[in-house]
């Protein structure tokens, strides 16, 4: 068993765009749930809009990639408003069901054959990132994200982060978005605005009785978190194809797991949680099949690769029961209000 190889591949996930996408979406959920107490179970929908908005902006509307990115963001804002105007008056668990259903509607609309010309239906969309296309589907075409890459071609970095200019470009862009978003969220939640949304999380009627427009605050939180989610989706789209099979309910649940790992009511929790989540996923996804191959586990490699998902579920259960504040959260910052 190539243990070093496994460790190295695992470590590469620290800088993977997927990890950053999870961190961004997790940050959005932290605003929603950790700070404002909104039970959003439809984060996958926001991410799908970010990704598809970007891809459709390029392929259908012929926009340059940097403008197309705003199509995704704009779509997520519109989605947040459509969702929020009626639902923010609802009780917490109702909001959860509405958001999960709304995200599912988005996925079904992206999957249906009716809009194949725009969404690519089950095949999803490819070839919107310009020269070199996506990793798995190189399609020629100028003016895309890849053409904006200022890094000369070549291999950079050191193992396990030794990669070509394209990978580095995505990493750097992702990192910039992530750092910017984290800073902004940190500022927000440590301001009087943050105080109000935390108050709303605790008891919205109390905050209302003090003359705050609770609905507007919740809406602002919903939109901000949604935009962060769409940025996560955008990052996924920058690095690979978009396909509706990615934006399923499980994605939302995985992001919840990452968030709760790090601590829901913390700014750095989503970041830390995503790194843990993905390194753990990568590690388990490699180690179990390797063990199975070496005959140390009594099942097939495919089965061995599934175990990690079972473990995710178990971790989520254990976390919520025994460490609801997350691994690094402060015990006093329990987010779950009874």
């Amino acid at each position: 068993m190539d243990f070093l190889g496994i460790l190295s591949s695992t470590a590469s996930f620290i800088l993977d765009p997927t990890t950053m996408a999870y961190a961004l979406a997790g940050l959005g959920l932290a605003i929603h749930f950790g700070f404002a107490g909104l039970l959003n179970m439809g984060m996958a929908g926001f991410m799908a809009l970010g990704a598809y908005g970007y891809a459709i902006g390029i392929l259908t509307f012929g926009l340059p990639w940097y403008l197309a990115a705003f199509v995704g963001i704009g779509a997520s804002i519109v989605f947040a408003l459509i969702l929020g105007i009626p639902t923010l008056r609802l009780r917490g668990d109702y909001l959860a069901i509405v958001t999960i259903a709304a995200a599912e509607i988005i996925r079904l609309l992206l999957l249906t054959a009716v809009f194949t010309d725009v969404t690519g239906s089950a095949d999803g969309l490819t070839g919107f990132n310009g020269t070199g296309g996506t990793v798995t589907n190189p399609t020629p075409g100028a003016g895309g994200f890849n053409d904006a890459n200022p890094i000369p071609s070549g291999e950079y970095g050191f193992e396990p982060f030794l990669d070509n200019e394209r990978t580095w470009f995505i990493r750097i862009v992702g990192m910039l978005i992530l750092v910017g978003a984290t800073f902004a969220v940190w500022r927000l939640v440590n301001s009087p605005w943050g105080r109000v949304i935390k108050g709303i999380r605790e008891d919205e009627d109390a905050v209302r009785s003090l003359g705050k427009n609770v609905f507007a605050y919740k809406m602002q939180a919903l939109v901000i978190g949604g935009v962060l989610g769409s940025l996560g989706g955008l990052l996924l789209a920058l690095s690979t194809n978009v396909n509706s099979s990615v934006y399923v309910t499980s994605l939302t649940f995985f992001i919840w797991t990452a968030l709760l790992l790090g601590g829901a009511a913390t700014v750095f929790g989503p970041l830390v949680g995503s790194v843990i989540f993905w390194t753990l996923q990568a590690f388990l996804g490699l180690v179990f099949p390797a063990l199975a191959k070496a005959g140390l586990l009594p099942f097939s490699g495919i089965q061995a690769a599934q175990i990690r998902f079972i473990i995710v579920g178990v971790i989520l259960v254990l976390l919520v029961i025994f460490r609801p504040q997350g691994i690094f959260g402060n015990k006093k910052e329990l987010t779950f209000v009874k």
Partner: protein, 300 residues
Amino acid sequence: MSSSSQSSTPIKSTGLHVGEIKPGVAKKDPILVADGVRRQFGGLVAVDVAHVEIPRNAITALIGPNGAGKTTFFNLLTGFDTPNEGKWSFNGKSLAGVSAFKVARMGLIRTFQLTKALALLTVMDNMKLGSTEQPGEKLGASLFPFIWKKKDEEIETQAIEILTRFKLDTKKDDFAASLSGGQRKLLEMARALMTKPELVMLDEPMAGVNPALTESLLEHILNLKKEGMTVLFVEHDMHMVRHIADWVIVMAEGRVVAEGAPDEVMKNPAVIDAYLGSHQDTDLGTVTGRITLPKKGKDS
């Protein structure tokens, strides 16, 4: 608690009403007027107030048996619930259809019978939330600390002042969750005062607050009146009602059944029947079961 031994006997406002005293009597200078306010839950009529006026710059007590509709009436007046019919106005402005937070911004602040301390915020943050003057609560401004830092410090000073009066200043950095039940009541009242209201509506403010502190809070409520505020409170403790209220309104089964100065109202046979019970002269405390202190001499 014995009000007769109180050092400062409060100065009662008198002559608040116009004409003959009866339920719904007009006031000289009403701050809040409700007209035909009715709220029904299924078959149960919880509130059915034909007409009631709350006098300005006075302390009014709203009393009545459990389930009389007092809390529901509070909810209706403050926009937390909508009546099936009726009109009500604050400072002459109609409040029908005005949402709760706007009512609060107009200067009508209420507290809740079941305390709503913001558990996972510190006591200080709870207080700061009460302030209405913080520009940093706007999304755009919140990103720039220089816009709101200074104001936050001012608000903090103000908060400490109020907390000291409520004996909560030592707790200011604790989470509200760690406060005792009575302390939460106090925090909620203190927080309400941070908004600098014109009319405060307190739903059983003294339930669960110890007698010594109750006394000092009564002082405080009297001071609010001196500062020009109007207070409307629900209370089952008749000592307190008698001691500080200038006016008493009695509700039963959703309706206003009696009104008047405290002493007069408590002699009203209807009120004794419906609410006070016939032993009120011996010890009102035992009627409500809230006061267990030994009696020091006969109450007024």
